[in-house]
Assembly symmetry: C2
Homo-oligomer: 245 residues x 2
């Protein structure tokens, strides 16, 4: 696959380089003026979001500016600038309808992640290889950050990809993931929202429980699905600094 | 009550001053050469432990050396250098017997904390007043750190004492504490050991749930009751720095 840098801007000490790798659109964040190798964090966005969603941008900028990390974010299959296929459109519509009716959409969430995971894992593996060939990234340690759908696609990635050595996950329950989660063995920080109206608390606790990692910490905070406190980005930065630094 | 400093030593940049306040034996930890007011952390030890138990010393030294805090630790009623009364001796014996028989001691744990809480709260309130009169402590913000019995006595303290504005608690379940916990409203970091053989996981989750605080974070880690990872002391330090600094 061909890797092309398509544009570059710098803001507040962080350089954002948009790229494509084959058909995968992505963004690489590095400290402005970065020279030489550094640890890399892959950031997977949530369902319906994209590589430059506000939560992705905020985390990526903080990881690059305060931690000196390189951060790569890509559009998941059927998200952002990528084309949507019929199966995805049908599933997404069914999911919206079920949520609008106040019903638990977990069965469709599992089906959606199953639909996307194979391609998503292959995308991340290719992007990891490509960005580590850049002089200002290099072949250093690699982490992964992804919650909600970013967790649903991150768990199979971590189970498959030995180059990733630490991960922040969360905002998702165990259905469909128990066996894959058991094959995750790297240190994990797992975020749970105590009043999450999309993810059942017992199922989220069960996913934390199912992770095969001996070094794993659950961070639970009050609030709904989208209300992770800002200090958890500080905690994630310290976690990555401890394991990748 | 009369406050007397009884001895003083300094190690690795931290000065330990042993004191008595009436019949309460305690230790005050401050950065060596400390001048002027600073935030204060009260550290409550676990059941059967005392003011200079290894876990207390490790946390106190790190809070003083790295955070510049003053830290006060005292012997709980019937612990350390304090005399033991008959009711305590009987309860402690029953608890040991029940644990040796592999039975859940929670009913006796609740009875023990009930026996000690009234005196323990009064002790901490008096110690807080006394140490804040020292020039190198002063009337700054106050935090509390206590797990297991330190949580069982800390929850009633926090419910009663408005001068304490942040707390690290944990390693305890909800029986006997639900109503008191609901009156705790300060920010809390709550530690839970996922494989705790002394405290049932569902009861610990229920105690976290019962806390009245809107700003509260559960940190759950693998391992048994006594196996809190060392990095949770770093997390506690950052938590206190954020809320008391």
């Amino acid at each position: 696959m061909r890797f092309s840098l398509t544009s570059q801007t710098s803001t507040d000490g962080v350089t954002e380089q948009s790229f494509t790798l084959g058909e995968i659109p992505g963004v690489l964040f590095t400290p402005q003026g970065a020279i030489g190798p550094r640890p890399l964090i892959l950031v997977g966005h949530g369902g319906g979001q994209h590589k430059k969603a506000p939560g992705v941008l905020a985390g990526a900028h903080q990881f690059a500016a305060e931690g000196g990390f390189a951060v790569a974010a890509i559009d998941a299959p059927n998200h952002g600038d990528r084309p949507k296929d019929e199966q995805f459109i049908r599933l997404a519509g069914d999911m919206r309808a079920r949520m609008a009716a106040g019903e638990d959409p977990i069965g469709l969430v599992v089906a959606m992640h199953d639909l996307l995971a194979g391609q998503a894992v292959a995308d991340w593996q290719a992007v990891l290889t490509a960005v580590q060939e850049l002089d200002h990234v290099g072949a250093g340690p690699v982490g992964y950050w992804g919650v909600s759908m970013g967790c649903g696609l991150g768990v199979p990635l971590l189970a498959a990809e030995p180059r990733i050595s630490a991960a922040v996950l969360g905002l998702l329950g165990v259905p469909g993931l128990a066996e894959t989660a058991a094959r995750v063995t790297v240190p994990v920080q797992f975020l749970l929202q105590w009043d999450d109206t999309l993810v059942r608390r017992d199922q989220a606790l069960a996913l934390f429980d199912a992770l095969g990692s001996t070094d794993k910490t659950l961070h639970a905070n009050p609030g709904d699905h989208g209300e992770i406190p800002a200090f958890e980005t500080d905690n994630a930065l310290q976690f990555f600094a401890r394991h990748l630094g």
